[in-house]
Symmetry: C2
Subunit: 330 residues, 2 copies
């Protein structure tokens, strides 16, 4: 199929950029040094490409992601890097043969792992992001409590998410070092072999983690693209110009096709004015025509992908593969 | 089922508020005076309730919405109030017995209607929103062109979307009158019986339109809720508190479960700090506990609904119905 034949809006992935992004990251962080985060693409077909690049373990953000990954034969070493309180569905995955490790940061989540039948945990440590994770100085006690409850504590995780978009490289490196000093200290108290942390923003700075939980690098977005990493923006949303006025033009890609939490999307050679449910109004540098097909670049890849049922891998004018976005929902 | 048993995040609809919202609007705009917009809820079960309240015609924003509505037996009078260029799927609906009217604002969209097999159109007129619609003074010519091409021109539409959230009632009424003066003038040039316009924000101000395209009134959101209409916020997202720290708490409702284009969600008796993919970090007035179930109120209902597979209609502690969000995608 040709790109011109796709109904719009349609999620496009440039094959060459995707392959380059995957290979660049795999060269920097080979094998188990990278635990790709599937929340960024929610696509088991793309995860299979990451597995083929040598990464057996994956990071998940939801139980659904774990289920789909295991169902796709990619359940060799799944980390649910979030706290959950009802782990029965995860326990069922463990009994079916998947390896599932879950983050715990409280007595309640330790008890939930035991009750749900999950046997392996990481102690989630707060390294500065105002979100989950126990205080570093309490990590050892929580690990003891988990072991007393019969769980295997594989180590620690601590996500320095507040540093991902720090643009200045020296500033980012210094702050990453400070955050990881907290995690390394907690790891000494906790024991185990795993120190899981990091993301696309800090993948090159974070030399303390034994594994990096990067996800956005595969598809990328304009927010990450602005801070100078060696990954290209592979993802875009194809739209059709449906209306042209003297002052502006309108493309059929709106806020129901775009993650909006990082702001407006970008259109080449145009100024984006605003997004409506099914439209983006923009001012092109050269006149647009009704029927033109253009690409809209989302500011944030993760919440864009979840709005689409499938992504089309393209090469030039051709659609070479179509992948289901099969990990949506919870 | 009890609400306590629902996995989270889960979309909840308060039955009493929904019923009150539907009845209040139906009393204000009975029968064909209201053409409910399904984009706000994307749920054919909810549309069926609106039909039962006496409204035979519906407004749609996508071809998929038209298809699902027709498939649900609600295709008596569907208006696709957006421009589209490939109308073959709409033509198939017409041949299957649905009545489909589509907006046109250019020679290209008139030609698309003819090519796709859609026989009835409204001329879409720009009444001040920087989006679709032909200039008012060109509407008559476009209607002539459509009739020469064999189409039935039922009238005009013109959406004053830029006025929906004007908070001052007098200011909103005055601006609505100005916008509708443009539409009424165009209607005189175009002919036909339909003047379709309006929304939840202007439903009471817009006395010029023959039918109002309101959608948000059924479920509501905090943005509309702030401007004083007689509709209650029926929609919320149920979450579980998964982590509690000295400074904040975290609920498992994040930006993949919330439309974010109108900003952060609201939590009663708490200050919301920020949203991550699967979390909202908040500061509660009284200490939260891990396992607490709380409701998160989205700032914008339409892009929230599309992130969920289903909505649960609740009454007290009970889930009384579960409705599929069956009009997602395109």
């Amino acid at each position: 199929m040709r790109i011109d034949e796709l109904p719009t809006p349609a999620l496009l992935v440039e094959r060459a950029l995707l392959e380059s992004n995957l290979d660049t990251m795999s060269a920097a962080l080979p094998g188990t040094r990278l635990r790709p985060h599937v929340k960024a693409h929610k696509c088991s077909a793309l995860a299979r490409r990451q597995r083929a690049n040598g990464h057996p373990g994956f990071t998940c953000a939801t139980i659904r992601e774990c289920e789909v990954m295991a169902g796709a034969g990619l359940g060799e070493d799944l980390l649910l890097a979030n706290e959950v309180l009802d782990m029965r569905r995860l326990g069922a995955l463990v009994r079916s043969g998947a390896r599932v490790t879950v983050a715990v940061d409280s007595p309640e989540t330790v008890a939930a792992a035991v009750a749900g039948g999950v046997r392996q945990v990481l102690v989630d440590v707060n390294v500065g992001l105002l979100r989950c994770g126990c205080p570093p100085q309490k990590a050892g006690d929580l690990a003891d409590e988990a072991r007393r409850a019969g769980l295997e504590v594989r180590g620690v995780m601590g996500y320095e998410g507040h540093l991902m978009l720090v643009a200045d490289p020296a500033d980012r490196a210094r702050k990453t070092a400070e955050a990881m000093a907290l995690l390394v200290s907690a790891a000494a108290d906790v024991g185990g072999e795993v120190i899981s942390a990091g993301g696309t923003g800090t993948y090159a700075d974070n030399t303390w983690a034994t594994e990096i939980q990067a996800g956005s690098y595969a598809l990328m977005d304009t927010a990450y693209g602005a801070i100078g990493h060696p990954f290209g923006q592979a993802l875009s949303v194809l739209g059709t110009v449906v209306s042209v006025a003297a002052t502006h033009a309108v493309v059929d890609v709106g806020l129901k096709a775009l993650g909006m939490d990082h702001g407006l999307p970008t259109i080449a050679d145009a100024r984006v004015r605003f997004c409506s449910d099914e439209h983006t109004t923009f001012v092109p540098e050269t006149p647009a025509r009704v029927g033109d097909r253009i690409r809209v670049l989302p500011a944030h890849v993760d919440p864009t992908v979840v709005l689409h049922e499938r992504m089309h891998v393209v090469d030039g004018a051709e659609v070479v593969e179509t992948w289901e976005v099969d990990m949506r929902g919870w």
